[in-house]
């Protein structure tokens, strides 16, 4: 079986969300575009949020997103699951309910057996079913490198949209998955990760943010995003910039894979982490006590990372307890919204 022997990660240059175009470069393509105005567009390109939101009626809005990337694991079924979980995550981060999805595929049919594509799509489909999403179509192009992902559409109430903006003083920040998947993907590519770790990280990346999103519905959540290619600090910066507040992060409280810390010290860091740091590093002040390897991990591009939730201070402990009770064991309070320094992140 070809599918058993090909290592998907060896066939591509970038791995997972680490393959994302550097944010500074993307800005050059997008800034100043003449975007048509539509009063029903509630969240669009100008806001740089997780997904776009379009109002259909006073009760209903569409929430739409799209995500695809090259494989970050070797197993085709797992790759399909992770890509789907990652794409669905943007809908959950907005507080929406995903309903339909379409496959986006770039496939090297000349060098790869078509059965691999089938297995990838089966993996994706398993996550769509778990999420209660129907697959309604897709588009496949021939390409030299494999890529897979989804375009997802969901529902949301126009008055219950959770954006990245709207941090409030005293809010606690809660992260629901450990950091380090970009560094670990690099180590997998290097053949340094053992199977036990690969399985553990694969399972985490394939876990839907649905469960965390369902739990947070019962709490006073002011803002939310999901951690993907721009890394923890990159996505946090999007929440903090122009918020009128600052954020204090306690580095030791941030859940991480210990293996990733070790590999960060060894220099197994994806180029995306450096891009993220170059782009958003100016908004971050690190205390001298925060080791280089920890700083690198905080900028590490994540594939299908967790939700970063800003919740009212008084409810933070009970939200963490509720997340843990539902098996989201690593959920932790990692920081706090403060008055100053305004629009900056301080990591201690």
């Amino acid at each position: 079986m070809v599918a058993e022997t090909i290592r998907l990660t060896q066939t591509v240059k970038g791995a997972g969300c680490a393959a994302k175009l550097a944010p500074g470069i993307l800005d050059k393509a997008l800034c100043g575009l003449d975007l048509p105005f539509d009063q029903n567009l509630l969240v669009g390109l100008d806001r740089a949020d997780d997904a776009g939101v379009y109002r259909v009626s006073d009760e209903l809005a569409l929430v739409q997103t799209l995500d695809f990337f090259p494989p970050m694991v070797d197993d085709p079924f797992s790759f399909g699951q992770i890509a789907a979980a990652n794409a669905l995550s943007d809908i959950y981060a907005m507080g929406g309910v995903p309903k339909t999805a379409m496959n986006i595929v770039a496939f090297p049919a000349k060098t790869m057996d078509i059965s691999i594509l089938r297995t990838i799509i089966e993996g994706g489909l398993s996550k769509m079913k778990e999420a209660g999403v129907v697959l309604i179509g897709g588009h496949t192009v021939e390409d030299s490198e494999l890529k897979y992902g989804l375009s997802v559409t969901g529902y949301i109430h126009p008055e219950r949209i959770l954006t990245k903006r709207n941090l409030q003083k005293g809010d606690r920040l809660i992260l629901t998955k450990p950091l380090g998947t970009g560094i670990i993907a690099t180590a997998i590519k290097a053949g340094l990760a053992d199977q036990e770790l690969i399985d553990r990280v694969t399972q985490a990346m394939a876990t839907l943010n649905l469960y965390a999103a369902l739990i947070m519905e019962d709490f006073t959540v002011h803002a939310c995003t999901d951690i993907t290619g721009f890394g923890f600090l990159g996505h946090l910066a999007e929440m903090v910039v122009d918020s009128g507040f600052g954020v204090h992060i306690t580095a030791s409280a941030v859940p991480v894979y210990p293996e990733a810390l070790e590999w960060a010290a060894m220099g197994l860091i994806p180029a995306g982490a450096y891009n993220n740091r170059n782009y958003r590093g100016a908004f971050v002040d690190f205390a001298a006590s925060v080791q280089q390897r920890v700083q690198d991990l905080l900028f590490d591009p994540q594939t299908s990372g967790g939700l970063l939730i800003a919740v009212a201070a008084g409810e933070a402990e009970s939200l963490v307890a509720a997340l843990k009770a539902k098996g989201i064991e690593c959920a932790a309070i990692v920081g706090e919204v403060v008055n100053r320094p305004v629009d900056r992140i301080v990591v201690e």
Binding site: E196, L197, P258, E259, E262, M266, G267, A325, E329
Partner: protein, 202 residues
């Protein structure tokens, strides 16, 4: 002996792996690595520093030469020790499903004794023990009058989640007698099985 590496045109993690191989084979006192992108420069620098080399970078146009000089005063970090540490760092999640009051089939008195002993010994799983879920007549271990209650309370104190099937407690009319753990449902049990690294059923 190779102490000059050309890593131009290579994407991470390849440059670091080339340097790692060279260090493991020849352990040169000085190593020069030619790279052509910023991520490779920083990664190779971090790796050499981690291996107790003092690092300097010299820009040559678009390219960069990273020079590492071994710091003789320091002990070279042991790569294999790091690998062992990685294996030890992670704990597994074991879920135990207790489906009745007897362990195995045969004499019920013996089965009772074995099951009680099993629950008593569960703590030996250490931090890998994640959840113990009780279903069917097994829920009786979590209610008033059971000798297992203090044992389960001890486990709960260690952070182990103790779950008892609500439908089973209700069916046996002992829902109000629960002394330890949380009342759960089949969805949570099934989700737990999925989240667990391994499930042990007795």
């Amino acid at each position: 002996m190779i102490d000059e590496l050309d890593c131009r045109g290579l994407e991470c993690p390849a440059p670091v792996l080339h340097v790692k191989n060279a260090l493991e084979k020849w352990a040169p006192a000085t190593i020069k690595v030619l790279v052509d992108n910023e991520a490779a420069r920083q990664n190779v620098s971090r790796f050499l520093e981690h291996q107790s080399y003092q690092v300097n970078s010299q820009l040559q146009g678009e390219e960069c030469q990273v020079i590492g000089i071994r710091d003789e005063g320091a002990i070279t970090a042991d790569l294999t020790a790091a690998a062992v540490k990685q294996q030890e760092a992670g704990t597994k999640k074991i879920m135990v499903l207790v489906t009745g009051v007897h362990m195995g089939h045969g004499d019920d008195g013996l089965g009772d004794m074995l099951m009680f002993n099993f629950i008593k010994t569960l703590k030996e799983m250490g931090p890998d023990l994640w959840r113990v879920a009780f279903v069917n007549s097994g829920v009786s271990f979590t209610v008033e009058g059971s000798e297992a209650v203090p044992l389960l309370q001890e486990l709960a104190g260690e952070g182990v989640q103790i779950l008892a099937c609500g439908a089973c407690l209700a069916y046996l009319h002992i829902l109000d007698k629960i002394q330890v753990g949380e009342v759960t449902n089949m969805l949570e049990i099934v989700t737990g099985m999925k989240l667990a690294d391994s499930v042990v059923t007795v």
